[in-house]
Amino acid sequence: MKKVKICIGSSCHLKGSRQIVEELQYLVKEHNLQDKVELGGTFCMGNCVNGVSVTVDDELFSVSPETAKEFFEKEILAKVG
């Protein structure tokens, strides 16, 4: 089970964490990965400047709504598929 946490704190929210959450929720469902990937939210990780902060099993990434799909393919799909 891969644990993916998206920061929903103030800064990341304003930088588009909702779009990323929705995009990842959609992609996980489309690839039928519900039992392999657990999506969750987290409050501020203290990395606001590089937000939106996303962790995959505690490894930190910077994602934007534009790079969400690419991030999913590279860091999630490739590693569980």
Partner: protein, 397 residues
């Protein structure tokens, strides 16, 4: 001691709404609400003769004079005589005329005194049902004035109104206007929902406007007082400026009686740690612009900080003014709506615990958040809540 405790645990919630006669710039109805330092509440609803500027002046003078004099504990006779001597006379009708309703509630939601002159009768609900109360008539300065004294109980609701309410629907849906007993029955349906006095007044006036076919034939005003139990609420936002004060801040916050709201990511993480619990964000965007809420066992509500509280402030300002957004926060599942319901509807006494730490992650010119915005938000929110009649205490750490 227990008796005293019971008495002081009641308080009042008062609010009103007016809609102008269609095409008028000014309202001929005027409401004044004064809460004296000892807790006595005085509400005056005046309806000036006619409409437009003259009516507006008459009703404003009437309600201001009565409420001010009553607050100074002057007798009703003196108030009425002063009005008669002061109001400008209408040259067309040769009278100076403004009808009025006065409701005075003794401190701690005690006895209600109702004084009525020519407005539609005050509707009183007890346990959600219309309660007709006794009136005695006296003539003061040639005016027939009805007085009542009622021992109040928790959850009593008093609704005063101008005749614009009873005239709603005349010639349209209701041939003879909206009947008092029908208005009362309609109000009974709003009881127990937990609406604020302001919202009850708003919904009643909105219904009248609908009955008028969106073009009110008269100035239409409703003013509501609810007798309610005091309900404390504690609101924490921001970590303390000095990290050494964290323990003290938490100990104070969690020892207070009443509900608990925590705003801010870092703030809730620290509080969860203090409680030995987890912060579990709920990834549900019921309002796309408001960050999701989270849960922490032992805390009633956990939300994000600045973005959410900015929206709460927007709702607070609107609630004091036109109250157009109440249906949004009354039903919303997002953090801002939930805070609004807790602060505006549930709470009567709110303790703010404001931490003045500067979030190092936010001190960047590329971020639209900064420390000053946060402090300003709290100040303005506290100010709005005071205007709603809440008792507010703000402590900084």
């Amino acid at each position: 001691m227990s008796n005293l405790g019971n008495k002081t645990s009641l308080c009042t919630d008062a609010g009103y709404m007016s809609r102008n006669k269609h095409g008028e710039q000014l309202c001929g109805d005027h409401v004044e609400i004064i809460e004296k330092e000892d807790g006595t509440l005085i509400l005056v609803l005046a309806d000036g003769l006619g409409s437009g500027v003259r009516a507006c002046i008459l009703s404003t003078l009437t309600s201001r004079i009565i409420s001010t004099m009553m607050a100074e504990s002057m007798s009703l006779e003196e108030c009425v005589e002063t009005i008669a001597a002061t109001l400008p006379v209408d040259p067309a009708r040769d009278v100076a005329y403004s009808t009025f309703t006065i409701i005075r509630i003794a401190p701690g939601g005690g006895e209600a005194e109702i004084i009525q002159y020519d407005n539609p009768g005050v509707i009183m609900l007890r346990d959600g049902k219309l309660l007709e109360f006794d009136k005695t008539m006296s003539t003061i300065g040639g005016k027939k004035i009805f007085r009542s004294k009622i021992k109040t109980a928790e959850d009593d609701v008093f609704v005063a109104m101008s005749d614009g309410v009873e005239h709603a629907g005349i010639g349209g849906r209701y041939n003879f206007g909206w009947k008092r007993t029908d208005i009362a029955e309609w109000l009974e349906g709003l009881y127990n929902v937990g609406f604020t006095a302001k919202t009850i007044s708003t919904i009643l006036v909105e219904e009248c406007v609908k009955l008028y076919g969106n073009e009110p034939g008269d100035d239409t005003t409703a003013a509501t007082i609810r007798i309610r139990r005091r309900e404390p609420m504690n609101f924490m936002m921001g970590p303390p400026a000095n990290p050494d004060d964290l323990g003290k801040m938490h100990a104070l916050f969690f020892s207070k009686e009443g509900g608990r709201i925590i705003c801010g990511g870092t703030t809730s993480q620290l509080a969860a740690k203090y409680l030995g619990k987890e912060v579990v964000p709920v990834l549900d965007y019921s309002d796309p612009d408001i960050p999701p809420i989270a849960t922490v066992e032992g805390v009633d509500l956990v939300t994000e900080g600045v973005v959410t509280v900015s929206r709460v402030l927007e709702y607070a300002r609107d609630h004091l003014d036109e109250n157009k957004l109440y249906s949004k926060w009354n039903t919303g599942r997002d953090g801002a709506s939930r805070i609004a319901r807790k602060l505006f509807e549930e709470a009567t006494d709110i303790n703010f615990f404001v931490g003045r730490a500067v979030n190092p992650a936010h001190q960047n010119p590329n971020l639209p958040i900064n420390f000053n915005i946060k402090m300003q938000l709290i100040d303005e929110l506290a100010d709005c809540l005071k205007k709603m009649g809440k008792r507010i205490k703000v402590s900084y750490f």
